[in-house]
Symmetry: C2
């Protein structure tokens, strides 16, 4: 179809398919805006930011019913030439604000020119992240002051934003105001501003200003503040790309390993809560400084941060005494999402005007981290019934489908992270992370973090010479105990057999109980790594709590099995699902229906960072979630006791039986001693 | 008219005259609310705050067509009895929330039970202040936490405010949140909250919380931050009463006496602006501490502060470099009103969550102080043409009527405040404030601050023995120069005559000029107080600037006289209008049409503090004012030169002539030396 001189040219945008007729001479950017095509621009069409790059296509397009001839767009102009000379345009690219429509044309908007581009998540993902950040950049030209009609520089900047970007009303704090006048003059009245717009409405907030066109980007942090570790993901707020990830230990560990000991510390020591607040804020500041410096990014370019954390960390981060979270009815000071300034929270390592968002808490025991998991994994959009288990020092559980979502937390304690385990250590080079025990010989082989070889393979000693073999991390202890159960070294009640009972000298007496020797380097002055009866008991306590929480949700939902299980948490990513099920950490399910979502809480934080709509979404979702409080539910105790056996005292594990047969051994010679249920302690409610 | 048992009783409220019928048993407070009668309540009708006191009237009320019988209200109840036992109710008073309607009744709402009561201003006033503060108290009963439906304490408080007070949505900062949980528990879930509602809209802000019913009141500060002095008025935000007033010198004086020297200090010394900001904030904190301690009020009960000040002080208070205000085009960083938190401004001597309001600036030379004068004096509501002159180190002028209001500022310098005067001093005990010179004998008499007697009256020496006679303050120098002119000691050009020319030995030579001796205590080691030729020149410069500003506004308005003149400023209150006109400080006008408004800027600050609607009003008013920039107006220079003569070179002063005849003397023996116009310097624009 040739162009009819009496009809305006047809412009077809891809990939959106949006189309419309525009008079000759219309800039492509203008056409895109009129059609609502997602085409980025920071400079507002002045030909300086290059965000609006497009690619015209030429030839026949039967699908669109268009023939695009050579002269469909205006000729390459001086602005484009200057930009190309200075920065280089990719072949075929044009600047959308410079190229004008001259005839029927098909125009492709490449992903990097879209504001709402999709970011592919690395891990297996329920959905991609669509970019729609709260903070965006705008270049404006501001009127110079006029004595005959005197107004403030801020008011003239406001007018420019209204006229050039249709943005009505802005606010600015004093620190921004104090740099406004020199920046406007330095930029010769052309400046780039960063505007933060809250998803709950209100005036846009001016958080940064640069002279001229700012081209060094804009960054945000997604921070997963755990009881044990703090992980931060530095994210480009334009592309959504994670520029750097970094983590440190939570220094509050010195006040108590688990949450309840930190709450106790606050209760017993006047000012203890403030001490813990100061320590975690300092650590976060250190983390921000180091991640910025590692990636070579000016920390002042970090203009947003999203936090996810459990309720106790939430309160300690905010400077709220967590004492009410230590006792029924576990009242949060505030449960809604929080929007704050960085300085209000004592976070001075990023831009002082950076905006902070904390996801809402679900309940006194189920925090913003669980909300982040819900945001990432979307149980409420799942057709089949999914159990999501976020394994950490405290486990959060979500059970649901499109009909209903339930949530609870369970006080597993830090055993799954290698703490309270005799040879336990955190996941670091040198730690045993995989264990296999030959069911015949009862001999173990293992892998350590930092080496791909099994301990029985040639070259292992050389490969581990620098790291050494130092202890067992969380995933290692789960595999070790599960393998001991599979190999018949541990019975269903959790007792380790003697060398006589098991037929291996690796079962060695230790007081009135036995340990299993995994690795002995004591002859060379190295460690002697064993799994003790105490270790088994610690794992039993932890896994019983986890299983009991899941069962409680299943009771509430009125089901006795789930369709699929998602293991979340950085640690969840490393758990062998088979071994987890042998231990009875999770309910029975087909093994191929047990998947890992990686650090789902961290992903949820990244989603909330990159897409402001997701903040409104999770706030609404949280209100719909049914909260189950394990601490006051008598059935929790029942489920806990029954879950003490490995894998379980009463619940059948038919799916597990299809892949593993557990030997029916018993090492109890004194009757009933294997029961630990009575010695169980509640970590969160005591 | 007797009560008809088939018709609901009639309730008539006075003074509003609002009336309506209500079923028997309706509480008076409920009836008042339904009718929109202004009846206060903090506790929401729980019978504990006593704010809703009313007085029923009994007998015949032909005006209202009502007969009120004895049983028109329910009997005194236990709640009222308990309150009366504890606090005492005035005779005839009832609690409006307890007394119920039983028959036709006339109910008076005394002023102290009205929210929007009027506060009578002490000074002659254009209008009374109607109370409508931004911050108000609300007592609420909050639901206790429920594990089965977990929400934060803040969210339950929000719900209580919504249900009990129809207030939707609140915000709270972290410092408030950190005291929320203990306060709710201490108050057994009954708390009083202070809520700040911005006149521009948005969610109410929770600024304070107390357990139970808070009865110690709520206070605000109206602060007039001048270049030379800082004055604060501590005001009860319930009654509007000024509890205490206090003032201190502005410590920035050490960086420069007038505004332009402070701007220069900031330009010449890196960090000089920050130094000045710190010094003024520290002084304000000191002032707040002392005013609170003098009046025995907990500074944490100060929850609002309104500032008025000129643009340079505005910027220095906010921590904004004032450098742009020192040179054309005199661009303000921001001209709109400012709403901030106390801590953001470094004001930590009051409640850290106190809200600060700064009135808008009119232009780069006409600040929030001029806006406050406009708010207090309302030139835009004046039928006759009024010139308002706020005399200070810098003078602000407003000229207008209902048609149009113009504003400018004029760089008078500090001479009118006694600075740059050889024997000048600030207005303090011992300073000459009134001066008369006998036109015959040329002998002076004077009064000093702290003594009611003239210096020629018996007992004067004894009465001034403790203060001494120390110098001349601003009003004293104006009277002295004017009296010298009237007595023929100074000619129209400003020259002081010699002893020969004037016939008095008090005219003593000093170099090539002469001085007039007012008081000589040098024999007793006391001061020798004279008016020198230099003093006359300083006063001439100041008054020429003031007059030139007024003339410029009159030119713009197209008039050559004004109907009335209002002298504002603390200093304006002490100026003798006759003497001011003899000097030619102000345009000619009937003397009885020249009045003093006292500290109009301070009054404007009080109005903005007590009535939130006035904030919206002045923001709108300021946008309507026509700004005249004296610094770029060539006619200003012309007017300035012509105004150098005393009273004026060319302008006639017919009204002045009716009361004073100025002697036609001339002491110029060298021709033209009397002209100082050429030596004039601009204080603001140099």
């Amino acid at each position: 179809m040739s162009t009819d001189p009496h009809v305006d040219p047809l412009v077809v945008f891809t990939p959106s398919g949006k189309r419309g007729r525009f008079p000759k001479g219309t800039p492509v950017l203008t056409a895109a805006r009129r059609l609502g095509v997602d085409l980025d621009s920071v400079c507002g069409g002045r030909g300086i930011c290059s965000k609006c790059q497009i690619t015209p296509s030429y030839g026949e397009f039967p699908k669109h019913g268009v023939t695009v001839s050579e002269g469909a767009l205006s000729d390459w102009n001086a602005v484009e030439q200057r930009y190309d000379d200075k920065r280089g345009l990719k072949p075929g690219r044009r600047l959308g604000c410079q190229a004008t429509v001259q005839g029927d044309v098909v125009i492709d908007v490449p992903p990097e020119s879209q504001v709402h581009r999709q970011v592919v998540r690395k891990a297996a993902s329920v959905r991609a992240i669509t970019m729609n950040p709260a903070t965006r950049l705008y270049f404006v030209e501001v009127d110079q002051p006029d004595m005959h009609s005197p107004t403030g520089d801020l008011e003239r900047l406001e007018r420019a934003l209204r006229e050039q970007w249709q943005i009505d009303g802005i606010t600015a704090d004093l620190t921004l105001l104090s740099k406004l006048q020199p920046t406007l003059r330095k930029g010769n009245w052309g400046v780039t501003v960063a505007l933060f717009r809250d998803h709950a409405g209100g005036a846009a907030r001016l958080t940064e200003i640069w002279p001229g066109l700012h081209e060094s980007g804009l960054f945000g942090l997604a921070i997963d503040l755990g009881s044990t570790t703090i992980a931060a993901h530095l994210t480009d707020l334009d592309t959504g790309e994670v520029v750097a990830s970094s983590g440190i230990m939570n220094p509050q560990i010195r006040f108590g390993e688990d949450l309840m000991s930190r709450v106790s510390y606050a209760m017993m020591n006047p000012g203890g809560d403030r001490e813990m607040t100061a320590s975690v804020r300092e650590a976060i500041n250190d983390l921000i400084r180091s991640i910025a410096s590692e990636s070579g990014i000016d920390p002042n370019l970090i203009l947003e941060t999203v936090f996810v954390c459990n309720p106790v960390m939430h309160h300690l981060l905010l400077g709220l005494d967590p004492v009410e979270l230590g006792q029924a009815p576990f009242a949060l000071a505030t449960s809604d999402s929080m929007r704050l300034g960085a300085l209000e929270m004592g976070l001075d390592a990023m831009n002082p005007r950076a905006r902070i968002y904390l996801l809402p808490c679900i309940a006194g025991h189920v925090g913003a981290d669980a909300a982040a998991v819900a945001l990432s994994e979307q149980p409420g959009k799942s057709e089949d019934l999914v159990l999501i288990v976020d394994v950490g020092t405290n486990a959060e559980l979500l059970l649901g489908n499109t009909e209903r979502v339930l949530a609870c937390s369970s006080p597993t304690g830090p055993a799954f992270e290698g703490a309270q385990i005799s040879s336990g250590q955190r996941a670091a080079p040198g730690a045993l992370e995989r264990v296999e025990i030959d069911p015949e010989t009862k001999e173990p082989r293992f892998k350590v973090i930092g080496c791909e070889l099994w301990s029985t393979e040639p070259g292992f000693d050389a490969a581990t010479a620098t790291t050494g073999i130092t202890g067992i991390c969380g995933s290692g202890i789960i595999e070790a105990v599960a393998e001991m159960r599979i190999a018949g070294l541990v019975d269903a009640s959790g007792l380790i057999g003697s060398a006589e009972q098991t037929g291996t000298p690796r079962c060695i007496p230790e007081g009135r109980t036995h340990s299993y020797l995994l690795h002995d380097a004591s002859a060379e002055g190295g460690p002697r790594i064993t799994v003790t009866q105490g270790d088994i008991r610690a794992i039993q306590l932890a896994k019983s709590a986890l299983y009991a929480g899941a069962r409680l949700l299943m009771d509430d939902m009125g089901v006795d099995k789930v369709d699929r299980i998602v293991l979340a948490g950085a640690f969840g990513a490393h758990i062998s699902t088979k071994h987890a099920m042998v231990l009875g950490m999770i309910p029975d399910a087909p093994l191929n229906k047990v998947t890992s979502a990686g650090n789902a809480a961290g992903t949820g934080a990244r989603i909330a960072l990159c897409n402001i709509d997701s903040r409104a979404e999770i706030e609404a979702t949280v209100r719909e979630i049914t909260k189950v409080e394990t601490a006051i539910e008598p059935k929790f105790q029942e489920h806990f006791v029954a879950a003490n056996a490995i894998p379980h005292k009463t619940d059948p594990f038919p799916e597990l039986s299809k892949v593993v047969t557990l030997p029916d051994v018993s090492f109890n010679t004194r009757g009933g001693e294997g029961e630990t249920g009575g010695r169980r302690r509640r970590r969160k409610s005591s």
